[in-house]
Amino acid sequence: MTTSQSRVARRVAGLAPSGIRKFFELVERMPDAISLAIGEPDFTTPWRGRESAIYSLEKGHTHYTPNRGTQELREAVASYLERRFGISYHPDREVLITVGAAEAIDLALRAILDPGDAVLIPQPCFVSYPPCTVLAGGVPVPVPTRVENDFRVQAADLEAARADRPRALLMCYPNNPTGAVMGREDLESVVRWAAEKDLVLIADEIYAELHYDGGHVSAAAIPGARDRTILIGGFSKAWAMTGWRLGFAAGPPDLIEAMAKVHAYTVMCAPTMAQEAALDVLTGCDDEVAAMRREYNQRRRIIVKRLRDMGLDCFEPRGAFYAFPSIAGTGLSSEEFAERLLREEKVAVVPGAAFGACGEGFVRCSYATSIAALEEGMARMARFVGRVGG
């Protein structure tokens, strides 16, 4: 008889278990822990969106939509991208509605990678980039970014990675887990480098609306970038719609066509009621988004100050909803730090190493939680750091 081990494809068996998974199980057994380890908003989806989903069900809109998403939503996404970031896309040929940004990432990689193609991935990064690359037959090449550069990827870092057969660069700004953002000049030099190497740029900009420093510049808006960039966005973060599973990709017609092909064969289309809700939030919830951004910004200032006051070096995050303090001074590894903090003070943070080797020495603290919980979590963490020595 075959063992279950041997029934699993080598490619899947070989994927490292997520550093987050193990931690999840620990925290789950501790219901009174304060969790600063949550990567989704604490807000509920704006009522306008929930209400229109209810209405959509009442009307009996329970069928498939076109593969690429409803015409109305594709048009709304195109005009949103134009209005907010100054990039224009054709709603029929250059926009694809997906099952979360998560699916868009998977589709982008599957659409462009041939076996053995390398994908440059600036790290620390969202946990699914390397496994999705492997599943698509590619080879992930980590590109460490450094706190000295505010975790912004530099052309020199990319050059130093010396990837064999590089095919794409997959990056995320504003960044999960560091909160780093890229300025226009940073993007220009990266785009120039990607153009020299003729790479496809996959820009995961799901946190674009959560930028606290003047406004997000999209990689796709940089001259010369648009026709080699797959821009990925979603509703999960700014519109607090994680559970709806809805996102989008925009890019040149050949790449979107390839992604749409895979999408059509695998999921057919994104959920219908979610698409109807998204149409309404995209066109009518700017005030709610602004209010959430204001609230996150206040929490951001509080958490960064508390972390620094307890003696940790904390780089100033300017986007998303994470702070990424260095815990190197404690002499603990990020995993030891997170595990002991949880056991001794019942506060959950995510070890930086879960986001790539260069995340070692840091922990991710999410501030997508109430100020009261943040204050309590920070007080407990300060006690812990005081004990182990910062």
Binding site: A33, A37, I38, G39, F126, R294, Q298
Partner: protein, 159 residues
């Protein structure tokens, strides 16, 4: 300025130190700005939002639609001035549409509110008619939802 107002509208008890921290500005600057907002009456006062039902207190609200004949040269303002001085009057609005003033009257019982309307409001010169509507339940008041809602759970650790 606006950021201070947004923060205080949400939580009027924030200290200048807390405001400074949350808004990323020096405390002195915040203190001066708040003092100016108070002096200019942009911030009129700080108070609690109270669920009187929960507190077990008797409170009844009547919404009274009032039609009036405006006085020559003085419009609705002079009659409004007379009405708003009554402590029973919780809020007073000039309205467009089929009536002129919306008077929100607060009392301990329906009878008390009804008497106020009958004895004080209706007999006023220029008041043509009143129509009284009693509040049966307060679902949402000044942006606060007053009914209990279940807390939504999130997974404790997510990427």
């Amino acid at each position: 300025m606006e950021d201070i107002l947004f923060a205080l509208e949400e939580d009027g008890r924030l200290t200048t130190a807390q405001l400074a921290e949350r808004l990323g500005r020096p405390e002195k600057e915040i203190a001066e700005a708040v003092a100016k907002l108070e002096a200019d009456k942009v911030i009129r006062r700080y108070r609690a939002v109270i669920d009187w039902d929960k507190a077990g207190a008797e409170r009844v609200f009547g919404f009274i639609e009032v039609r009036i004949s405006p006085q020559r040269g003085r419009g609705f303002d002079s009659i409004a001035a007379r009405i708003m001085e009554f402590p029973e009057v919780h809020s007073l609005y000039l309205m467009s549409g089929t009536y002129d003033l919306m008077v929100v009257v607060q009392g301990k019982t329906m009878r008390e509110v009804a008497y106020f309307v009958a004895e004080r409001l209706a007999p006023m010169d220029n008041v043509l008619s009143t129509a009284t509507h009693f509040v049966l339940r307060r679902y949402k008041v000044d942006g606060d939802i007053m009914v209990e809602r279940t807390e939504n759970k999130r997974l404790p650790v997510t990427p």
